[in-house]
């Protein structure tokens, strides 16, 4: 596909959790918990409220099609604010500082006053029914030129555990939301911009890491298509695939539209009740249903079943719309006979609803109210197919295809959060912000100044341990030893089940400096760290694992070994060094440093050759 020619326009919104001590609008820790640790549960109903103009937001209205009861789990680390039982505390100053730092790093202009707004969200993920968000800065630019439109501070939503049950531990964790201009024209450029923003965010050293702590929403449209927002892309490497598939989806939907128009297709808005037709059906779904309705789509034959994305058809889009009414899915004649529905039943159905060969019939089977609601949704989606690509919010499926979530939110969705006072950003505060070194710059410095090879330098710079690394090097540890231990040894130990998270930086630095000075053998480092993680002090761990052998004792050991292998030494001369080194190392069992052993052994050997 030639994306430039398609008129591809894409922008991204990045949501990154901040690693603050407390939440954005309460003083609870930003700690995630296991559902099993919950201390209580409560439940609520949410309803769409009228805006000041007296209209209900279309996205909110969609969520309200069925009355839903939401259950929330509380913890000993959540409070009444998460429960929507207490007004929010003032905006977290630490979170604002991090947001301002990021804004300054990307050359943005801060707002004079930060005003907190409410964004209507009634899918249950916010106990209040809205998400609080505040614009912090505007108009920035990335090093490669992409424009950043806005930076907002937001509160994270509650985590859906399953069904309509949510966990309140995540609700209220501060997020920054960075929105780029829709300036990107190729799938790869979208991915690269996301990568750069991610790198900048990590450079602050103040963002959370790990699965789910950063999410990308992608806005995409092609010429003649429509703006579609794809929510929650977590893996960076999938971004370009998502963009490609959405562009393809829009191309295919436009082709379907053109074909429908050529065929003079139309949608029959009134569904036909066909429950009686399936009284003796073998299809278990139709058997179970108390009410079956058919929607006739004139001229749609073959198009409802046409693939628009890998694994997705126009029919899948209709099913997504129908599911909003609480039905499991739909059947359509492009895929029938199948699922226990016979060819005869299909023919009979076509006859009864007056559908010809060029038409497609969609079936919805459920309880009466739901079936009628779902049929209306199918009609709506079919009409949208005649118009082309609908504006939608979609969610990413595992492979990079997407499914429908809700219409794009209307403008009525934001209103002021009256419980939080605005925060003025003084010029001095902005001036005082010190910019952290970018990880990309740090990687170059690690390579140039510390002699790490490019890949290792990059890996070290991106690591959470970069700070410890620099401190180790400052206190005299060789960069290669520090990097190898931080990136290699710790990971291996962690894989073996050692609780390396418990290793404090100070203890780690202590071990490394001892290894560097030869006070403990490098070979003993993994064993020492294992003991420290098991709860021992550095001294105790060292004396347990690697009581250092004195130089005299080592010398005695070497002389002893040389004496018992005098024959071998005579035969091989200095060539005995390598093999004997192994013997001494084994005998010393990590209690002496390899370099010292090598030095002494070489000297002793030379005297004998």
């Amino acid at each position: 596909m030639d994306f430039e020619q398609l008129g591809l326009k894409a922008g991204i919104e990045i949501h990154q959790q901040l690693n603050t001590k407390e939440k954005l609008f309460c003083r609870c820790p930003t700690r995630l918990r296991d559902f099993e640790e919950r201390t209580g549960e409560f439940f609520r109903y949410l309803r769409a409220t009228e805006s000041e103009m007296g209209e209900i937001d279309r996205a909110a209205e969609e969520e309200m099609k069925v009355m839903r009861r939401f259950t929330y789990a509380t913890y000993d680390t959540t409070c009444l604010v998460e429960n929507d039982e207490e007004p929010p505390a003032p905006l977290n100053a630490e979170a604002l500082s991090i947001a301002l730092t990021i804004a300054k790093m990307t050359g943005m202009t801060p707002v004079d006053q930060v005003h907190v707004m409410r964004k209507l969200v009634i899918d249950g993920s916010n106990t209040s029914g809205f998400q609080r968000t505040a614009l912090v800065a505007l108009n920035g630019r990335l090093p490669e030129g992409a424009r950043i439109e806005t930076l907002c501070l937001e509160e994270e939503a509650a985590q859906r555990v399953e069904g309509e049950t949510f966990s309140l531990d995540r609700l209220g964790i501060p997020l920054v939301e960075i929105t780029t201009a829709p300036d990107m024209h190729t799938p790869e450029s979208v991915r690269e911009v996301a990568r750069t923003i991610g790198m900048i965010l990590r450079s602050t050293g103040c963002v959370k890491r790990g699965i789910g702590t950063i999410r990308q929403d992608i806005n995409i449209s092609i010429a003649e298509g429509a703006r579609v927002e794809i929510k929650g892309v977590q893996e960076l490497d999938l971004i370009d695939e998502v963009v490609r598939r959405e562009a393809a989806r829009q191309v295919n939907l436009l082709a379907i539209r053109d074909e429908l128009r050529r065929r003079n297709a139309s949608v029959t808005p009134e569904p036909v009740v066909v429950t009686g037709l399936f009284a003796d059906t073998k299809s278990s779904i139709l058997q179970r249903a108390t009410y079956i309705v058919a929607v006739v789509l004139r001229g749609f034959d073959g198009l409802v079943g046409r693939e628009i994305q890998p694994g997705r058809r126009l029919g899948s889009e209709m099913a997504d719309y129908a599911k909003k009414c609480g039905v499991g899915g739909i059947f359509h004649t492009d895929e029938l006979p199948a699922y226990g529905v016979t060819a005869e039943e299909v023919a009979h159905l076509r006859e009864c609803v007056g559908a010809g060969e060029a038409d497609c019939v969609v079936l919805v089977a459920a309880a009466k109210e739901r079936a009628l609601c779902a049929a209306q949704q199918v009609v709506r989606r079919a009409e949208l197919a005649l118009a082309g690509v609908p504006e939608e919010t979609r969610k990413m499926l595992e492979d990079g295809s997407t499914s429908y979530m809700r219409p794009l939110p209307g403008a009525a969705r934001m209103y002021p959060e009256t419980d939080v006072l605005p925060v003025r950003i003084r010029a001095e505060r902005w001036e005082e912000i010190e910019l952290p070194e970018l990880i990309s710059v740090k990687a170059e410095r690690f390579a140039a100044e510390m002699g790490l090879d490019g890949a290792l330098a990059r890996q070290m710079a991106y690591s959470e341990k970069a700070g410890v690394f620099e401190r180790a090097v400052e206190s005299g540890v060789r960069p290669s030893l520090a990097a190898r231990t931080l990136l290699g040894t710790l990971r291996e130990l962690s894989r073996e089940g050692v609780a390396v998270d418990r290793l404090e930086d100070a203890a780690f630095l202590d071990v490394l400096t001892r290894a560097e000075s030869g006070a403990i053998a490098k070979e003993a480092v993994p064993g020492v760290i294992t003991e420290i993680c098991g709860g021992l002090s550095v001294d105790a761990a060292v004396s347990k694992v690697a009581p250092a052998m004195s130089e005299e004792a080592l010398l005695a050991l070497i002389r002893d070994i040389l004496a018992t292998r005098a024959e071998f030494v005579r035969e091989r001369g200095m060539g005995a060094l390598g093999p004997l080194m192994g013997v001494v190392m084994q005998e010393a069992r990590g209690k002496a440093d390899g370099r010292l052993i090598s030095e002494l052994l070489k000297k002793e050997l030379r005297q004998r050759v």
Partner: protein, 348 residues
């Protein structure tokens, strides 16, 4: 709005408060502007339950409530009952709702339910408790109840509302939905949600035939003072010229020995002093310790197991009708509207 003539008639009187509030975009604050039609539009299910007759008595934040507005409210409710309302709903800000509810309880002897309702989370938010509280209050107003009550969330979940006796209820939390609690007795009953089924306990006064009786005189010159350790003795002299003073004393109903003189002066000057307890739960007893016996000797009236605010409202009402010290003391200590329990509640 079209209303179904076959349904029973309920009256909604509004005084303002969160149940009817919207955001004021001028100040950014939540203000209270009410149009009764707004409520029906916002809560369509109400229209399936009853016909509504709606009036705005006041449009104030509840901290600005006054005794003269209590009188307006009592007269408004009285008129609605005389005009055939099957029950009356009063929307009210939650901060002083229990004061107003107990005032109406004394001022109006009602044969039908008079239900006070409000909300703790403003109506403009999708999670507001206003819809559930309003529906439950309407169901209570149509029920077999025959007294003044407060109907609010019974728990943090949207599972049921509690029906509290007006003279035994208190706001016990600044912000939670279930802030209102019955003190000194269990709630009169519950209204389940979303079924709106009403369950009343044996204690609840039942709906009866007969006319409502209005006694709407109140004495404004009555004070309420919470005693604290080290309270300057001359603070009491601020109440000189007052016809009544309710003390929220410590424990069983005490103030310091240093306050005795000041109280003697007040009582000598014609002020009726009623003792209640800061404990809120339990009964006052001034016969156990010396200070208590001194207080009784001065003529301080024991407020039994009345809440301090209820004793205040009751004293205002009693003094609106009586002057004679003996009669005042007798009425204060007599149960009139369920505010005094003959046997102390053994729950807590």
């Amino acid at each position: 709005m079209e209303q179904n003539p076959d349904l029973p008639e309920l009256a909604i009187l509004s005084t303002g408060g969160t149940i009817a509030s919207r955001i004021d975009y001028r100040t950014g604050a939540v203000t209270s502007q009410f149009d009764a039609d707004d409520i029906l539009r916002a809560i369509p299910r109400l229209g399936e339950m009853a016909r509504f007759n709606a009036h705005q008595v006041a449009s104030i934040l509840s901290e600005n409530m006054t005794t003269s507005l209590w009188i307006d409210l009592a007269r408004g409710i009285y008129d609605e009952i005389r005009n055939g309302a099957m029950g009356v709903i009063v929307t009210h800000g939650t901060d002083t709702m229990s004061f107003s509810a107990s005032a109406i309880s004394f001022m109006l002897d009602t044969p039908v339910p008079v239900v006070f309702v409000g909300s703790q989370r403003s109506a403009d938010r999708p999670s507001s408790d206003n819809v559930m509280n309003a529906l439950c209050s309407a169901s209570a107003a149509l029920s077999d109840l025959g007294e003044v009550a407060v109907v609010m969330h019974a728990s943090t979940s949207d599972d049921r509302c509690a029906v509290h006796r007006a003279t035994k209820v208190r706001k016990m939390h600044t912000s939670r939905r279930d802030a209102f609690a019955s003190i000194g007795m269990p709630p009169l009953g519950y209204v389940d949600y979303p079924s709106l089924a009403v369950r009343l306990g044996d204690d609840a006064v039942r709906r009866r035939s007969g006319e409502a009786v209005l006694h709407d005189a109140v004495e404004e010159k009555v004070g309420l003072l919470s005693f604290y350790p080290g309270m300057p003795a001359d603070l009491l002299s601020q109440f000189e010229g007052y016809r009544g003073l309710v003390l929220a004393g410590t424990g069983l109903g005490h103030v310091s020995t240093a306050s005795i003189g000041g109280l003697r002066d007040l009582i000598g000057g014609g002020c009726h002093v009623v003792m209640t307890s800061q404990c809120l739960h339990g009964r006052v007893c001034d016969r156990v310790y010396d200070t208590g016996r001194d207080l009784l000797a001065l003529g301080v009236i024991e407020g039994e197991d009345m809440l301090p605010e209820v004793a205040l409202v009751k004293l205002m009402w009693v003094l609106g009708r009586h002057d004679d010290p003996g009669e005042v003391a007798r009425l204060v200590r007599t149960n009139l509207r369920g505010e005094i329990r003959r046997c102390s509640y053994n729950g807590f």
